[in-house]
Amino acid sequence: MTDEPAGLSRRALIGGLASSGGLILSGCSDQQPPTYGSILRMGDNLTYNAQRFLLSRSALVTEYDRSQISSMPAIGTIDPSRPDVGLHDPQAGAAYAALRHGDFADWRLKVEGSVTNPKSFSLAELRRMQSRTQITRHTCEQGWTAIAEWTGVPLRAVLAAAGARPSARFVQFHTFDLMADGIDMVDALHPQTILAYGMNGRELPIGHGAPLRLRVERQIGFKSLKFLRRIVVTDKFDDLGRSGPILNGWAWYNGI
């Protein structure tokens, strides 16, 4: 496939966004998270569809002043190369350690799947793209919240650069701690959904997901995956197996 003009792929993205509404309402099975017969997952899907149906898809979360930035703990995996805390895979952990040793100069973000122009972005390339800085509230499923400033490139700019196809419905994220998760196009194209490389005016600290983490501001904190390495655009729902939330007993959609 040849490169599409940026305008065309943006139109394609908007078309995909508009048609995904009909698919969600019609309950088309490969557009919905699987329930595997669990009543809890059915409840999750009810919440997902109700929020998509009742709430504005473009509403922005509240942005705060710099003076309101709060302390914020780093939890879960705090360093993918550390075997003692969080999730650890020896191979991915060693790869991460080597990249960090080189100040992430050799780190690349792969964007592939349902895109016309699969790409690999260096940190410098992402920094040269359009950037967005937002001070938002992080809501952890455990019950705590924190306010921080995030700087990064809007995910929709990265998807447009890779030429996401009009048939695209989901964006999946893969990380160095072998966690994976996905979001639908409503959240993926939302202007506050960014790939952040900066936090509170500095480089993203290791504990908070260096060199690049996702920010999905309208969902619970664990959807904002840290330590990103690969993005896969898909036309159908992918439960991501043992790396994804559903087979680990967690809800896939976490707007609440």
Partner: protein
């Protein structure tokens, strides 16, 4: 009293019984899952931000995460050492939120259905005004005091299920159905990032996401105390008859 005068108006109406059991069933599951969620982080704060690096208002001595905070040394985000900090959590906390959160929201759907149906019927049929709202003459100090004494006298006489209600019953029920339950619904919504993106006014009303969580907890405590007294009163006033009344009407 009006309800007493009309034959056949005693006991509980069908819609009261249906919504009573739907809401109370949901509330029991909400309490079970809610306490499980609380055990993941039994600390409470005020305002919009609150976490282990911020001093809590209070901590509930509940489960293995009580006072269990294992962090690396703190690093300030900015030049000033008194400003916000970060630290790495080194000990994975006890956490059953995978099923507890989903169960909480599943039960919340049943609760919201029951609550909206109840409130709709209560206002449409005049039940709220005629049967639940205290009349002005009932709010006199003497009447209140007499009802308090009647509630403390043992053994309590067996009571007919359903209205008319005494002043303490009216106050308790109106507080629960018109204040506490709607507050649980609204403070619950205020903890949702997707809902507050649409309705930031919720954050303004409750003074922050953590304030809403703290209010959610205090209203839960109030409802738990109500539930306890409610069950004791049923046991003291002819439990089989009371149960039969809530299932069959009379």
């Amino acid at each position: 009293m009006e309800a007493e005068a009309k034959p056949g108006s005693r006991g509980h109406r069908l819609w009261v019984r249906l919504t009573h059991w739907l809401i109370s069933g949901a509330v029991l599951v909400l309490i079970y899952s809610g306490v499980t969620i609380l055990m993941a982080h039994p600390r409470f704060y005020w305002g919009d931000a609150g976490n282990d690096l911020i001093k809590p208002l209070f901590e509930v001595p509940l489960g293995p995460n009580y006072h269990n905070i294992g962090f690396s040394p703190e690093t300030p985000f900015f030049a000033s050492p008194d400003g916000p900090v970060t630290a790495n959590l080194l000990v994975a906390p006890w956490n059953q939120n995978s099923w507890a959160r989903s169960l909480h929201f599943l039960a919340a759907w049943c609760f919201v259905t029951g609550l909206f149906a109840y409130l709709g019927f209560a206002f449409a049929t005049g039940h709220a005004r005629r049967i639940l709202c205290p009349r002005r003459d009932e709010l006199g100090r003497r009447n209140l005091w007499e009802d308090v004494r009647a509630h403390l006298r043992l053994p309590m006489p067996a009571a007919e299920p359903g209205p008319p209600y005494t002043i303490l019953q009216k106050l308790a029920y109106t507080l629960v159905v018109f204040v506490a339950l709607p507050l649980m619904f609204l403070t619950g919504l205020t903890m949702s990032p997707a809902i507050t993106a649409n309705y930031p006014i919720l954050i303004a009303i409750f003074g922050g996401a953590q304030s809403a969580r703290t209010i959610h907890f205090f209203v839960f405590v109030f409802l738990a105390i109500f539930l306890l007294i409610h069950l004791v009163m049923i046991l003291l006033t002819g439990p089989l008859r009371q149960l039969r009344g809530m299932f069959l009407g009379k």
